[in-house]
Symmetry: C2
Subunit: 231 residues, 2 copies
Amino acid sequence: MNPIQLFDTESSTFTYILAAPGEKEAVIIDPVERHWERDLQHLQRLGLKLRYVLETHAHADHVTSAGRLCELTGAVAAVPSGCGIAPAQKQLNDGELISFGTGEEIRVLHTPGHTAGSMSYVWRGNVFTGDTLLIDGCGRTDFQSGSADALFDSVNDKLFTLPDDTLMWPGHDYKGQAVSTIGWEKRHNTRLANRSRADFVQIMGELNLPKPKLIDVAVPANQNLGLPHGG
Amino acid sequence: MNPIQLFDTESSTFTYILAAPGEKEAVIIDPVERHWERDLQHLQRLGLKLRYVLETHAHADHVTSAGRLCELTGAVAAVPSGCGIAPAQKQLNDGELISFGTGEEIRVLHTPGHTAGSMSYVWRGNVFTGDTLLIDGCGRTDFQSGSADALFDSVNDKLFTLPDDTLMWPGHDYKGQAVSTIGWEKRHNTRLANRSRADFVQIMGELNLPKPKLIDVAVPANQNLGLPHGG
């Protein structure tokens, strides 16, 4: 059962709608502020009631629509407990299960590294990796308590221990790619396959990426679920 | 079981990869020339062998990679019999079944209107409608033996008789939308829901759309599966 994958061309962010066949409840992962109407339209067209809005982390490159979607639909915002997203109704911890529909379950994996609080989500043979693991790449580890060491462990000890045929759906892609598998990434991911910790930490330390343009706006906004700050 | 949906930003074309869980064979619908490597990489990452390349029609706005994918993978090009795509190994007719994997079946629906030969494909509760039916819209009917009358019949007599919860995956979208349902389109499609034939034919006759920029190149190229014409 694949998710419905939606894309934001400005930030190259993927949003996912999860719903099992015949079910009437859905979960959305990492919705983007400017697409809140598009995403509600998808739910309406598919006849789905939104139960949870999940965030993989407090994003630095775009603003979430989580708060607005929850206000408009009655859904619950469920977020990683370590991301400082205080107004969310549900703070998630490693190993927790999120239930929706008739017996659907999402398993929460704490996968720090891109940010200290980052989570991945496992559902029906799929894993949603946020910016921890990307297709043939990984998220940067140089801000928001990021850590190359932690990312190395998250990928090797958690994500790469999922079954090889697990479909891996990333938080971003910049090359028109949509989906991979854990098995392929284990064998071929340029940054992480068959690499020592020392090698990986060195690669990540030498990336010298520019500061994300929106980080000073986006992170505080996302820690408020994308809602205007009161007062 | 949803397909994997891929997008071409230049022509806003969707390409679909169909594979059932645990299966090793896949079908691709409407692949785009410039993305042949991306699409092969998807198949490789997912561990899938390509069995068929399906075209919904001879496209006027982009060139297909069908010929190249078939040459590189040994897949069979299966195309609507009325589209003049002579080199394809399999010419499809209305009602035909395409089998792949272990018991997977795609049902062929002849849905003329956008072009005289256009086909839609039904698989596991999904319908791939090409340019016959779009999300809250439909394909134009003013070239390639298009016919508003024929499109009206194709939609009302064939597509709208599928179960309401059938997921409808279009050939294009220009608004960031990805998927709809037959039920929603029957009730809400601006051009087609609850409209008389006369109304619809009048709307389509008054669109006055510009000629597609690539039509004189793309249609002959697509009728040769996107392969160079022999001297």
